[in-house]
Symmetry: C2
Subunit: 354 residues, 2 copies
């Protein structure tokens, strides 16, 4: 079927295409009768406009591209949802891409987004150094804001959580729970969040006098499987630490599960903490103590920064570091007496006396 264009509408309404455009966009006033005829013609013909042509002419697409390392990780999923929502409020659409944690794929996605003339880009870069070139290039082409993770050396906005502050919360909590030694299970040092969390772990174990065995710092990837594997290694080591600090909730979920399988009690034999507070962190056995990121805030700030960057006025890049909060659940016991939604604990732990 030949698509109906603005010319067809114009012909039917007995006006010029310019008038149709004005009537539909509301860019300029149009007499009521004419507006009426136009809308009737649109109805009759089933006209629906060509966004591509419009975009070419206006050189803007009202679309923002977002690139995340994974859509399977609930943390990014929530971020995406929140960004999409914030954008919608601002009358823009989200074009979502997954880089699958692959810098090469990420670079390709960025090229593709630039070619598609998105108005701006929101990205959580895969890698601290390997992502730099592509991100820098994209940032030079159009407004770009980094969220959560960032590559340094690129003059772009950034919004994320204060990872160091998060580790302070975790370590202080563990110290208060009596931990005298700790392990750290994380991903390889490939991005800013990871580095800052490890640095925070090291600094604050030291400050609090918590012992860290060299072979108790395990770097793999952000996944449940790696949490299981890391736990296996810890169990093989000389001595289990008092606490296992994980760089994200997926790892922590794997750790908790592997402990349970091995008959190691959490929190009885070892305390476990996560990071992110993904929805499922409340559902494991036991539920995870973790660091909550202010996702909605991160998303709205990201969109605000992007809007700002879309303005002609050139401003200094902003770096916004938001404060996380600690969510204490049963994985760092003692379990509260009373079960309550979101942090249920009674009856879920293995060998606790009841």
């Amino acid at each position: 079927m030949p698509r109906v264009t603005i010319r067809d509408v114009a012909a039917r309404a007995g006006v010029s295409t310019a008038t149709v455009s004005r009537a539909l966009s509301g860019a300029r006033p149009v007499s009521p009768e004419v507006a009426d005829q136009v809308h009737r013609a649109v109805q009759d013909l089933g006209y629906s406009g060509n966004g591509i042509a419009s975009a070419l002419r206006r050189s803007r697409t009202d679309t923002v591209g977002m690139v995340v390392p994974s859509v399977a990780n609930p943390f990014f999923t929530s971020l995406v949802e929140n960004v999409e929502y914030a954008l919608q409020q601002a009358g823009r659409q989200l074009f979502l891409c997954s880089s699958r944690s692959d810098p090469a794929l990420e670079a390709q996605r960025l090229r593709s987004l630039v070619a598609r003339q998105v108005d701006g880009i929101v990205i959580s870069p895969v890698h601290g150094t390997e992502s730099t070139e592509a991100v820098a290039w994209a940032a030079a082409e159009l407004p770009l804001v980094q969220v959560d993770r960032y590559v340094s050396g690129v003059p772009s906005d950034w919004v994320g959580v204060d990872d160091e502050a998060g580790m302070v919360l975790v370590m202080d909590h563990l110290a208060a729970r009596g931990a005298r030694s700790a392990a750290f299970v994380s991903s390889r040092l490939t991005n800013s969040s990871t580095e800052l969390r490890l640095a925070g772990f090291r600094r604050h174990t030291e400050r609090l006098g918590i012992a860290v065995d060299d072979e108790h710092v395990l770097l793999g990837e952000y996944s449940i499987d790696w949490g299981r594997e890391g736990t296996a290694r810890l169990l093989r080591s000389r001595r289990l630490p008092d606490a296992i600090v994980c760089a994200d909730d997926l790892i922590a979920l794997g750790v908790v599960q592997a402990c349970s399988e091995a008959g190691v009690e959490v929190p009885g034999d070892v305390l476990v903490t996560g990071f992110d507070d993904i929805p499922f962190s409340a559902l494991s056995a036991p539920p995870l103590t973790t660091v909550r990121q202010p996702q909605e805030l991160i998303a709205t700030e990201a969109v605000r920064l992007l809007q700002r960057a879309l303005e002609p006025s050139v401003v200094e890049p902003a770096r916004i570091s938001l404060s996380p909060s600690l969510v204490v659940r049963a994985s760092t016991g003692p379990a509260p007496r009373q079960a309550h939604p979101g942090a249920p604990v009674s009856g879920t732990s293995g060998r606790r006396p009841r």
Copy 2:
């Protein structure tokens, strides 16, 4: 910065814009020397092409739109990942939208995708009847394939799982485990999957002589919270059934959690099953017995159907119903002796003697 266009490249390379276009797209042969000059000019100027202009001229975008009810549901997330991957193989990009389970938002997304001239659409419609108009309209505008859920009465392709077959697997398994009564916790009857699963539940409980109390069929929504709420209602009813059959894993996770909080043992006091086999279904306490959907296959079939629909030749819409499989884990016990990856059970359940 004024964006560099194909004309700049042409001028620098000393050829026509048509030649540049041909050299870059490879649509037609170009002499090696000229190709060289063009590529050099591209490098020098940092030319990166305007996909919008190209799309307008070619009237295709090499982009496919996908609309899902939720990006927070791991089931759809996996589907999205798989579709994105399959599309990438086919040289197309995915434009992802969430309808947030809202038919109005869904209609808006569809309009937007059509306006953006995507080449085709993959959709899992929110609602069995309220989505029909928008889906039918979009399907008339361009190639469209429905996945997982579908609205009937729209002549479009569909790929999904055989929900009825899934329920057969579940009910036969429960009967073999000795269940003589069962409850069903699902979402309100708003889409095809839900209806088929309920119908299957009814048919096969009857066939197997499993009792179903009227007040044991609970319809809410696909969420963990509804699983918790549904459980609360079941606990308030006269008598707990032998099994709680859930229409998806999120509900089942909520059920298992709520049972645990209430001191009801799974599978000791009640058997619980899910549907979908999302990654987290293996991590609950106890891990869920559930119905696995062949996600990769659904995705690749969806993309194949879409490609087919993009061909000029008109063919009959296809409806492809794929077979699910049953994944037996501890929530329908007896627990296996030996813990093994993906189905750990020892030491995770409340009051089991050990």
